[in-house]
Amino acid sequence: MENHDAFSLKTFRDELEQHAISLAFNGSFSQDTVGLIDINLKNRENAKLLTKRIFGLVVEMAQNIHHYSAKKIYSEKYCRNIGVGVLAISETKDHYVITSGNYIHQQDSEEIKSRFKELNNLGEEELKDLYKMRRKMPQRPNKPGANLGFIDMRRKSGNPVNYQIKGEDSSNPFFILSAKINKQ
């Protein structure tokens, strides 16, 4: 038998089901991809506010991958390199969980960890003040992002954001973010 038989779609499907993963995407995070997730979420029966919060987390994670993933693919359509990563929306009894993963540059690892450590220790008001303060600062040169994404994820989630960096000794560690939103 050929080696490609090692992949079982059935096993893959069962795993998605087991973890109640309603949406998963692996690839380059173009504007169109995020637009499709937007449409998918709007077709669900969730309350609007909840849907918007889930989508808000998806956008900030997706755009983080788009701009900062260490692995990028050139897009003919957009004429630029677009970051590659993976994103999933899953569900537990009380929460929706939005998870993203992408390769990063090793030198960014410490900063990412210290930023989430700081954010996870802040209360709602402190997060709001930090967001507003950072928003007033000038756009960072050569960086398209607003430098607000991590704070926004933390605020939208309403819970500490889990972060993990796998293979920290390698030149391209894998960075995983996981944010949950309370259903109620």
């Binding site: 504007q31 995020v34 637009g35 937007d38 449409i39 609007k48 506010l49 918007k52 919060r53 989508f55 808000g56 956008v59 900030e60 755009q63 788009h66 701009h67 709001k128 967001y131 507003k132 928003r135 007033k136 756009q139 398209p144 992002g145 607003a146 607000l148 994404g149 704070i151 926004d152 939208k156």
Partner: protein, 127 residues
Amino acid sequence: MENFFIESSTYIPKIDFNSETDILSIEGESYHEYTVEFFQPVFEWLNKYLTEPGKKITLNFKMTYFNTSSSRRFLEILNLLEEYQDEQDGEVTVNWYYEEGDIDMLESGEEYEEDVNIDFNLIPYTD
């Protein structure tokens, strides 16, 4: 001068700036990945529009969703209008519309209201 208009699409808001009525409206969703580039013509138009003093301007925001990158651009627009009001004898009112029950969008409006010295109306609407 000419009016400024951009039709909305999946991740782009409708932008309707009218130099005759002095009503400027931004409406819909905004999650473009490169907002500096996307909003550049908006700022070019505004900078030209705001050279004439003494206008009574209404800025309507009726957003259902915007990303953090757009959030920065909105503050820059509000800062421009605040400056116009202070230095060029202008009068600016912001109407911030939010869908009834969308406490996050209401909060976003309140946060802008705290950051600029402009008259703000926070207005709920039902679909």
